[in-house]
Amino acid sequence: MQKYIRTTLKLELQDKPGQLLTAIKPISESGANIITISHQRDEENPGSDLIVDIVISLQESALPKLLDSLKAQNIDVTRIGIERLMCMKTFILIGHILHTDLTDTVNRIDKKDITEVTELHIIMPKLDEPSTAKLTIKAVNEAEMDHAIEKLEKIAAEKHLMIIDEIGGRL
């Protein structure tokens, strides 16, 4: 399965007409999906370089070629941030979440750089009463997400936790 990544490119463009288009062309040709573009002109130093942030999602294998083509156009890429965990699902858990070893619950789902619990928010109304938690899991792809959900379901059955998940696969 091809791995998709989300990445932010910070480009330095000369402040003259046509530069943005020159930068976007190779991105578009790489098959990437442009999620957002923002640019800021330095009003105090007219004529200085233009900094453009472009967030794209593309197949990981297509990234090196894209960076080469940008370089070939004399465009400086000053920073690349990569978000590998593209799949995200939110769950609500109800039960004795803390008293059933929360660290264990999270550790069993976490698989470094593949599936990670990225958000956990717990409300405990009263001692001895069930608590409620919102848990966000991110994964590199759907298959890994399915693995993580299977694990979560197993943990929930063991620890008598109720899971509420999103309706998936809707059109």
């Binding site: 928010h121 938690a133 109720m162």
Partner: protein, 326 residues
């Protein structure tokens, strides 16, 4: 004109009486409650039997039982609207079998017999050249069975998601709107008559699961029972869970879901976007059907009620009336 034997004059039976009494195409020739019955080939005065029932607790005399009416009276269609028995389907199942064996048509809103014995009843009807119809068993007035069988005929169904229990929907929407606990919202639903004295079958997902079984077997050609439906109720849901769902634009509803290809049937509380067509207040029912060609289609309307359920029964009666030119 169609001659009708009406079995059951509780809430739905009264609705049927109201809907049919001024309709010249139909004549109620027999009626029975759980204790008594009466027969009149010239047509029963429905208001008179309701008055009698109010006064004495009986609509007729004890010598006419539902079974005897089904077996002996001259009628075209038996309308069976007694309360559901989810375990055995009785006594409705036996009443319906008697009618079908005589070649009489049957229209019912009773979930028990249809969820337990759909294939047998369909075969018995076919053998005797009779029809059995049951639009009122799922989602009250909402024409989901005919809507899927006829309106969406031929369209492969990828998935189906339904809010099939008005009591649960009321409880969850009150928890969402007012921050009530489950117990508080349930007490309110009881006070308003939306929840029964023993609400177990509603809140543990069984009622919705029975309706899902009916849709799976009768519309999607599956062969499943209640045991095939994975069920989780709403009694453990906390007000905090609904508040947390809200922070990402979601809410919680009891959803019956069905993926025909995977034979995956489930009734459980799920997170839904707050703007999803399946998110609404009060006791309505709704079903979203995801189809190959038509995309997603949502049916929504009254899921219960006397005259509302009678509307579903009327549509089945009119279908039979036309088909057999009665």
């Amino acid at each position: 004109m169609m001659k009708i034997a009406l079995i059951g004059i509780g809430s739905v039976g009264r609705g049927v009486g109201e809907v049919l009494k001024n309709d010249k195409r139909f004549k109620i020739v027999a009626a029975a409650d759980s204790k008594s019955g009466l027969v009149n080939p010239d047509g029963i005065d429905f208001d008179a039997i309701m008055a009698a029932k109010k006064k004495t607790g009986r609509c007729g005399t004890t010598d006419w039982t539902a079974f005897r009416i089904a077996a002996e009276v001259d009628y075209d269609t038996l309308v069976e609207v007694t309360p559901t028995n989810a375990e055995t389907g009785e006594p409705a199942l036996s009443t319906i079998k008697i009618a079908l064996s005589r070649g009489k048509h049957v229209v019912t809103s009773n979930k028990g017999p249809i969820s337990l014995a759909y294939r047998d009843l369909k075969a018995l009807a076919k053998e005797n050249n009779a029809d059995i119809r049951f639009e009122g068993t799922v989602a009250g007035a909402v024409p989901i069975i005919n809507g899927m069988k006829n309106g969406l005929a031929g369209n492969p169904v990828k998935a189906l998601f339904g809010v099939l229990n008005g009591t649960c929907n009321y409880i969850l929407s009150r928890m969402e709107e007012e921050g009530l606990t489950y117990q508080q919202a349930l007490a309110e639903a009881r006070d308003l008559g939306y929840a029964e004295a023993d609400p177990t079958y509603d809140v543990n997902g069984t009622d919705a699961a029975i309706k899902l079984v009916i849709l799976a077997n009768s519309v999607l050609g599956m062969n499943v029972t209640l045991k095939d439906v994975q069920r989780t109720g709403i009694d453990r849901i906390t007000p905090e869970a609904i508040k947390m769902a809200h922070t990402t634009g979601h809410t919680i509803r009891l959803i019956a879901s069905l993926y025909p290809d995977k034979r995956d049937l489930e009734v459980s509380p799920r997170l839904l976007p707050e703007d999803d067509p399946l998110v609404f207040s009060e006791t309505l029912n709704a079903i979203t059907v995801e189809t190959e060609y038509a995309g997603a289609i949502t049916f929504i309307g009254a899921g219960a009620g006397s005259v509302e359920t009678a509307s579903a029964i009327l549509s089945d009666l009119v279908f039979i009336l036309k088909k057999y030119a009665l």
